[in-house]
């Protein structure tokens, strides 16, 4: 009957608890946040694990050429007639056609915009020249880079972690807020003496609990099953995840600040997240996009989060080295949060 209550009975603790209960009582949410990233990482990890170097398919139009080309182990050589070889090249069954040229030479036919074609041409040429007696002036040997840290799975796990941080923060904020608004629950809450900042803060706090589990699950899975390295300091990693999750939550808050229906906020969230999934380097390096787009891509929060995670996990970067990524995330946090506070619709 008095104000002498335990802190657990206060509004912030109660609202955070309620957020948490609502979340764990939603089986679908549990699946998307915890199970799905593991399935994805497992699937992709297995698909790309210890992938043998590609054997390229090519065609030769004379038996002599076919024989000398077969000395190259990385080529799978078929001997075809001129027209059959032409067809195979056109339909992509082979990457290169090798035929006799004028005055005892060789002609390579391939698509020069196709990396496989270019690779096959180099390998084929080497085999043809060696068969004709060329001796390399410099001896060379190969060393395979397949140890932890440089495999595809090592690249992928930080990407998935970043994607998961973004997805769960934005979905978690967006749906919960718009749902509360749609059901007039938000209006009911502001009709009580509930402190409004506690309402928003409870979302942030419940995110933090979730964050520990989310990061732990994905990273633990990657480290235990695939031996993904964790080379940076755990403190820096925690700081990075925290900052990333906060700025994605702020973005989620901004996206949910006006919408009245789940449909509206879903569309908004997808249109913001989808481009980032593609350009921010979740599955392949963001460097593949043209140079003029790089400044924009680097300024996106997901790029910053993923780059930061890769620097920390794979290269053991120090806090100072992570400063640019942290700066980008901090910028998004401040801008989105202040905009959201201005725009937020309480009814």
């Amino acid at each position: 009957m008095s104000d002498q209550r335990r802190w657990t009975e206060g509004p912030l603790a109660q609202m955070t608890l309620v957020r948490f209960l609502e979340f764990i009582r939603e089986p679908e949410a549990l699946f998307w946040v915890f199970i799905f990233p593991i399935l994805l990482a497992a699937g992709l990890g297995i698909a790309f694990r210890n992938r043998p170097a590609d054997v390229l398919k090519i065609a030769a139009t004379t038996p002599q050429l076919a024989q000398s080309l077969r000395q190259e182990k990385l080529l799978d050589v078929a001997q075809l007639s001129e027209s059959a070889a032409q067809d195979a090249l056109r339909t992509g069954k082979v990457a290169l056609v090798v035929g006799p040229g004028p005055s005892g030479g060789v002609v390579y036919k391939y698509d020069d915009t196709n990396p496989e074609g270019r690779g096959a041409r180099m390998l084929a040429d080497r085999a043809v020249q060696r068969a004709a007696g060329r001796v390399d002036p410099v001896s060379a040997s190969d060393q395979w880079m397949r140890e932890p840290g440089s495999r595809y799975i090592d690249f992928l796990i930080p990407g998935l972690l970043g994607m998961n941080l973004m997805g769960s923060a934005i979905w978690g904020m967006g749906f919960a807020i718009v749902d509360a608004r749609r059901r007039k629950l938000m209006k009911r809450l502001i009709a009580t003496p509930m402190p409004r900042h506690d309402f928003l803060l409870s979302f942030v706090l419940s995110r933090l609990f979730m964050l520990v589990i989310e990061v732990g699950v994905v990273l633990g899975f990657g480290a235990l099953v695939f031996g993904v390295p964790v080379r940076g300091s755990l403190f820096n990693l925690a700081l990075l995840c925290l900052l990333a999750s906060m700025s994605f939550s702020a973005l989620g808050l901004l996206l949910a600040s006006r919408a009245r229906t789940i449909e509206a906020v879903s569309g908004l969230m997808n249109s913001i997240m989808m481009p980032m999934w593609i350009v921010s380097g979740v599955f392949f390096s963001a460097q593949r996009f043209p140079d003029f787009a790089q400044p924009v891509i680097k300024a996106l929060p997901l790029t910053a989060a993923i780059d930061g995670l890769r620097l920390n996990l794979l290269q053991g970067a120090s806090l100072a080295q992570l400063a640019p990524q942290m700066g980008v995330l901090g910028f998004w946090l401040v801008v989105c949060f202040s905009l959201a506070l201005k725009l937020f619709r309480w009814r």
């Binding site: 008095s2 009911r188 502001i190």
Partner: protein, 308 residues
């Protein structure tokens, strides 16, 4: 008695409709005041302005001697509010929901006590999603009561409930009245207003068209009772014959069923029976009811409160 709520010249317009058009009313401490009117009359807009959830275009609201602009923090602690169509989280239990609302108030009953107030004890561990409509409405009441409010706002508390659940809720509201709380409720059920409210304001098109105790309002239309009867060959009775009967003011007939609006039941009924007896007509049916707020609304606007 002191006024718990004073509303003066309230006006609120949305894009193309004037929802509240100059409403002035006063709710006295300890009374149950009803805003009665059809859907779209401006009841909810009025009550939400009083609750500090909506800003009025003009006019003033004074709650418990305070104003929303300056004392909203203190006011919120002393009000209990139940909104129309709030959907509480279905995944929480009854207890968790009430405990959450209790956490917002400085003083008040414990969550379990609040749940007992609305007689939901046995549903305490159940998820909100499993409750019936009436139980959900009682849970909403519990959430409005956890701050031990002096003033209770109930917006359409029984809309959409079955008759039994409505009666249960009425009993609860009467309990709150006995507890000395001031209540402002809106409804479009005239029987609800008649049963619960000490005073009623009838609203239509954003204006208050009548205000007083249910008895005063019914008295104001000059008709106290309605007598309905049918008798074998009652069609033989002429309207002018019936009008001659003492206290009868209006006569309508429908399918051999005759309806009389009368002022004094104790004189009109014996006179009617004597007249039937004199003409040798056997009475097959006789019903009387007192005039209701519905009849008041019909008299004032020419329309029914709601289309059945």
């Amino acid at each position: 008695m002191a006024a718990a709520l004073e509303v003066r010249e309230l006006r609120k317009a949305y894009k193309d409709v004037v929802a509240v058009d100059g409403v002035t009313l006063e709710v006295r401490a300890g009374e149950c005041f009803g805003l009665l009117g059809p859907n779209g009359a401006g009841k909810t807009t009025t009550i939400e302005i009083c609750e500090g959830l909506l800003d009025a275009d003009s006019g003033s609201v004074e709650m418990l001697g305070m104003r929303w602009e300056t004392d909203s923090e203190r006011l919120r602690q002393r009000l209990g509010i139940q909104l129309q169509e709030t959907q509480l989280s279905e995944k929480l239990t009854v207890f968790e929901t009430v405990r959450l609302f209790r956490s917002f108030y400085k003083a008040g009953p414990s969550p379990a006590e609040a749940i007992a107030l609305v007689q939901l004890q046995e549903k305490q561990p159940s998820r909100v999603g499993t409750l019936s409509g009436g139980q959900k409405q009682r849970l909403a009441m519990a959430c409005a009561l956890v701050g031990d409010p002096e003033f209770l706002f109930l917006d359409e508390p029984t809309t959409g409930l079955d008759p039994q659940a409505r009666r249960q809720l009425w009993d609860l509201i009467e309990e709150f009245k006995r507890g000395g709380r001031t209540i402002l409720l809106t409804t479009h059920y005239m029987d609800e207003a008649e049963r619960l409210c000490d005073r009623v304001a009838i609203m239509d098109h954003g204006k208050i068209i009548a205000l007083g105790t249910p008895r005063e309002l019914i008295g104001s239309i000059g008709v106290e009772h309605v007598v309905e009867f049918s008798a074998g060959g009652a069609t033989l009775l002429t309207v002018s014959d019936l009008k001659k009967i003492e206290g009868v003011r209006e006569v309508t007939t429908e399918n051999g069923n005759v309806q009389l609006q009368v002022t004094e039941l104790h004189r009109a009924v014996p006179a009617l029976l004597a007249e039937l007896n004199r003409q040798g007509l056997p009475l097959t049916e006789l019903r009387t009811h007192s005039a209701t707020l519905e009849d008041v609304f019909v008299t004032l606007t020419g329309r029914r409160l709601r289309d059945e």
